[in-house]
Symmetry: C2
Subunit: 304 residues, 2 copies
């Protein structure tokens, strides 16, 4: 059981966590959460998305959030975009890092967009150019490479072909996202081992959902495959797009606690991370997905 | 990432799950749960405990449960006991396998019983003899070898010394129990690797609690250390003796689902296992700890 001594965590609660909340949070509340997560030591955060405010009203104020937060030295503040309009909004509000996304499922992509995933990624070329021109870094995400409602198991060749398409448009930082919550440790280990070996120069991320209770085990499997960058969401906020009422992203404080107890460095202060999760739970009314918010830290048990 | 192709699971919901429930279940309801779990294919089950009915009223009818269920060919039905009185009750109702338990924590054992763990285990000699005389097999459990509220980390030498004490009284099947929910994958892997190497002839079990969200990752770590026998509890019933309101044992259906998706054989029918969990959730009113009861199987998502 071998893995890196240091793991880089990205707090995605402000994007993937809050976009599932029915009640809209104010920019003030989002600012409080962002500042708390930054103060706890997260080196990377996903602040929101520049997508249609009609489709995702929870993210409509992402521009304002960037403007009010401003640059934070040493912290990468990325946002999800879907097209060139997203790059324009990012440039206008001072966002310096964006993330594109494509479904690994051919069936999904063809049904929704009448394009193969590779055609979708090739179509990102203008986004990437516009972002580069504006001094904005671009990363990419591939959702459901471990399995999707359309294909029971995504062939590894399909994932490689999508990675090639990303590389062809100049995107060399790629996240594999278990949006459908179908990943298990063996599929995570197998796919990431394959990817890390085939593309050693790609900067890999793992975005896990705890839909079927396997996210922590999947994170360990990804670490064993050599992956050192993981997404997580305060208080375990989020959900599965295909399962109403399902559990969300893996809870940040649960991951930070586990890694702390394992002696793996994250650079994040555990108590401050738990305080952020508590704030997120208070603001949304949802904290039940977090084990640490319910049980406390292991060290809390120690008899004085 | 290597492990055995077949894992043996023990359903402990009727003991460790139900003993935490405030409302008492009837013997009829327990029989329904036991029969459902047996029908789903569990090869081992913990039916209850022969301990003081005043201390644990939920388990007071374990004798009656054994009598009404009778022998089930091919299924091992074990019960927890604390002393020789437990052996007598086991013998009287037809129970053929008992489990003893000791805390790995010196501080805990000295505070509660004024004995070291080794002295407690040596004191089990008369239980073991009485059980053997009655044709009853005996296994042993060591709780909190991964850490306890008394000792932050349990020294591996202490665990070895307790194992030696069990072997000295003739007990060669031993469970390591994370009752305090403090285990993480590295501590599980490290301790079980050490134990499996030092005691290759001991039949090892891992009993995991999901108190801090690490149970699934811990199970994978135990598997990687060569352990092939795991406890789990329908609907994730149970709790942490030190944390009121904490999550329970790892949910049987979540473990069976993960192992099924990993291609690891359990001999358990997944749908029947989920049906048992649903029944347990209905009878107790508690099903929220189960991811599969909330989200369904991965294969449920597949578009027809």
């Amino acid at each position: 059981m071998k893995f890196a001594e240091k793991i880089t965590l990205c707090e995605v609660g402000l994007r993937d966590g809050l976009q599932n909340e029915k009640a809209l949070l104010s920019v003030e509340d989002k600012l409080s959460l962002a500042r708390a997560a930054i103060a706890s030591g997260f080196p990377v955060m996903e602040l929101g998305s520049f997508v249609s405010p009609k489709a995702v009203p929870q993210m409509a104020d992402t521009d304002e959030l960037y403007r009010r937060l401003g640059d934070v030295p040493g912290v990468e503040l990325r946002a999800l975009i879907a097209n060139k309009r997203g790059v324009e909004r990012a440039a206008a509000c001072g966002c310096r890092k964006v993330k594109l996304n494509v479904s690994a499922s051919r069936g999904h992509n063809l049904a929704n967009l009448n394009k193969t995933p590779e055609e979708s990624v090739a179509g990102f070329a203008d986004c990437v150019k516009a972002a580069r021109d504006a001094g904005i870094a671009v990363s990419g995400s591939i959702s459901m490479p471990f399995g999707s409602p359309w294909e029971r198991f995504t062939p590894v060749e399909d994932v490689r072909s999508i990675v090639d398409a990303y590389l062809a448009v100049g995107v060399e930082e790629i996240s594999l996202s278990d949006a459908s919550g179908m990943a298990v440790p063996t599929s995570v280990y197998s796919l990431f081992s394959n990817m890390a070996q085939a593309y050693p120069n790609v900067t890999w991320w793992f975005h896990s959902h705890n839909t079927r209770g396997t996210a922590m085990a999947n994170i360990i499997a990804a670490m064993e495959a050599g992956i050192t960058r993981m997404d997580c969401s305060f208080a375990g906020l989020g959900g599965c797009p295909f399962v109403p009422g399902a559990a969300g992203n893996i809870a940040s404080e649960d991951v930070v606690h586990m890694l702390y107890e394992m002696g793996v460095e994250t650079g994040i202060d555990l108590d401050a991370c738990i305080a952020t999760a508590r704030l997120a739970a208070e603001l949304t009314g949802h904290g039940g997905e977090s084990y640490i918010l319910r049980a406390g830290k292991s060290s809390d048990l120690i008899k004085k």
